[in-house]
């Protein structure tokens, strides 16, 4: 099997990460993953507005995912659409298990994931960058969250689908894990797969996540030293 961009079955696209790129955010990171270009910023812990969302036993975590109008082929209208809202929600669920939210009762942590240029896999790239931004913000975490997708293209299970593969592919599973324990914190799937194919794809995606984890550690070391 040959992939349209010449990658091997278990090969990631080129990934570049940089920590601490925004001055006005409390923590931030930038990621280029294939043709994806994504910024993540962390704001907080801060006051909860509106106040009724405050919880007295932990911080209120909110992730907002958004795409710029120029990030995709056809201009996207500014403002949240239903897809963005759902991705924001599952991203919150993917990151929350890693954050010591209980350290910040009655406060709010806001994560903004802004997609400047979108190829396939923006949610995994966004979660990966947001994790770096959380570390950059000094928010205590149980471990890093690393994300990567695996999918089915031409009846083969492959890692990290690019746009062309995503369009023509048969299935896609975006995954995020707490890399220390391999616990899965994000899992979605669409397409058609057998049980065996699901198992193979999950295994492949977990390996991908581990590679991503190494790159996250490298990016943090580049910023903060060993």
């Amino acid at each position: 099997m040959t992939r349209c961009d010449g990658r091997k079955k278990n090969e990631l696209r080129d990934v570049k990460m940089e920590v601490g790129v925004l001055k006005r955010a409390d923590g931030s990171a930038y990621i280029e993953w294939g043709n994806n270009k994504i910024f993540a910023g962390v704001y907080g812990p801060k006051e909860v507005i509106p106040r009724f969302l405050a919880r007295n036993d932990r911080a209120y975590l909110r992730c907002k995912y958004s795409m710029t109008p120029f990030s995709v082929e056809e201009r996207k209208r500014p403002g949240p659409d239903r897809r963005s809202v759902e991705i924001g929600k599952v991203t919150t669920g993917a990151l929350a298990p890693a954050i010591l939210l209980e350290n910040y009762p009655n406060s709010m942590i806001e994560i903004l994931i802004d997609v400047m240029q979108a190829d396939a896999g923006t949610r995994c790239a966004g979660i990966t960058a947001a994790t770096l931004a959380l570390v950059d913000a000094g928010i205590p975490m149980r471990g890093l969250v690393s994300a990567c997708a695996a999918g089915k293209v031409d009846d083969e299970i492959v890692l990290d689908l690019c746009k062309e593969e995503d369009n023509l592919g048969q299935a896609d599973i975006p995954l995020a894990i707490l890399s220390r324990t391999e616990e899965i914190t994000l899992l979605q799937m669409d397409g058609i797969m057998t049980e065996n194919e699901v198992e193979e794809a999950l295994g492949l995606a977990i390996e991908g996540c581990k590679s991503v984890y190494q790159m996250q550690m490298d990016a943090l070391k580049t910023k903060y030293g060993d």
Partner: protein
């Protein structure tokens, strides 16, 4: 979380670890499922679904519109959901909440990805006129597992929906035919509590669960959609166990759906 909530959580978790549930169900057992197809006469297709104390009505309506430029020969399906307010205080103005959006999108994805709906057959006049199928989910009562109740309601409503046949010139005829459905995808939601997997979580279980996963399967044993929901995490083995469980439970509920439809069409 206050003291009472903590005690509740402990109780439910301890029960789960012993393989038990507050309502005496088995961990792998659904609550009673009641399906009334064609409940709403003004809809082209509809279903009233009770899953234990959870009540949902799903209605299917059509409209005629122009196709998307990139798929000129295909109709469109669009799904939305309305939730009632919770007992707890919440802000209400503004756009539909993210829970309703996730609910609608997960139900939609299960149907769409299974390729059940033959969207090419929704085309009336290529490039000009296509049917737009609206699947609207109205949640009446949320006693847990809205996803499965809504998913079952949606596929039932679609399955018993009728549509007017159009002639080659794009004019409606007197003939009516069923909506072109090729498969019956069924969603199955599994909660994780105290390291145990429980199908069809009741509301109190949802409140204390570590996390949940929804798996949609078709009659051929394929997995067509998955969604890990809320916070928390699964181990790989747990996901695969959930996938197998969902395949079995999905088949059971599929038979109930088909039986309910058969009964009303007699």
């Amino acid at each position: 979380m206050d003291a009472i909530a903590n005690i509740k959580k402990e109780n439910i978790t301890n029960l789960a670890i012993e393989g038990k549930r507050a309502d005496e169900r088995d961990l792998k057992e659904y609550r009673e499922l009641k399906i009334i197809p064609n409940y709403i006469k003004k809809a082209e297709g509809s279903a009233y679904v009770e899953l234990g104390g959870t009540k949902v009505i799903v209605g299917v309506k059509y409209d005629i519109g122009t196709p998307f430029p990139d798929i000129p020969n295909e109709g469109v399906m669009t799904t939305s959901a309305e939730l009632p307010p919770m007992a707890s205080p919440e802000f209400e103005s503004g756009p539909p909440g993210e829970d309703a959006i996730e609910l609608a999108r997960v139900v939609d994805r299960g149907i769409r990805e299974s390729k059940s709906l033959d969207t090419a057959k929704l085309c009336i006049k290529p490039g000009e006129l296509v049917r737009i199928v609206f699947v609207d989910i109205q949640v009446l009562d949320d006693d847990g597992n809205l996803l499965d109740a809504s998913g079952i309601g949606a596929i039932t409503a679609l399955k018993c929906a009728k549509m007017v046949v159009y002639d080659d010139d794009g004019n409606p005829t007197d003939k009516i035919e069923p909506l072109p459905l090729r498969k019956v995808p069924v969603t199955c939601t599994i909660a994780k509590i105290g390291g145990q997997l429980l199908v069809d979580p009741q509301k109190d279980e949802e409140k204390v669960m570590d996390t949940r996963i929804t798996v949609t399967t078709d009659e051929d044993g394929n997995i067509v959609a998955m969604q890990k929901g809320e916070s928390g995490s699964f181990k790989l083995g747990e996901v695969m166990e959930a996938v197998r469980l969902a395949t079995v439970k999905g088949q059971e509920n599929r038979e109930k759906i088909l039986k309910a439809i058969e009964e009303v069409s007699d």
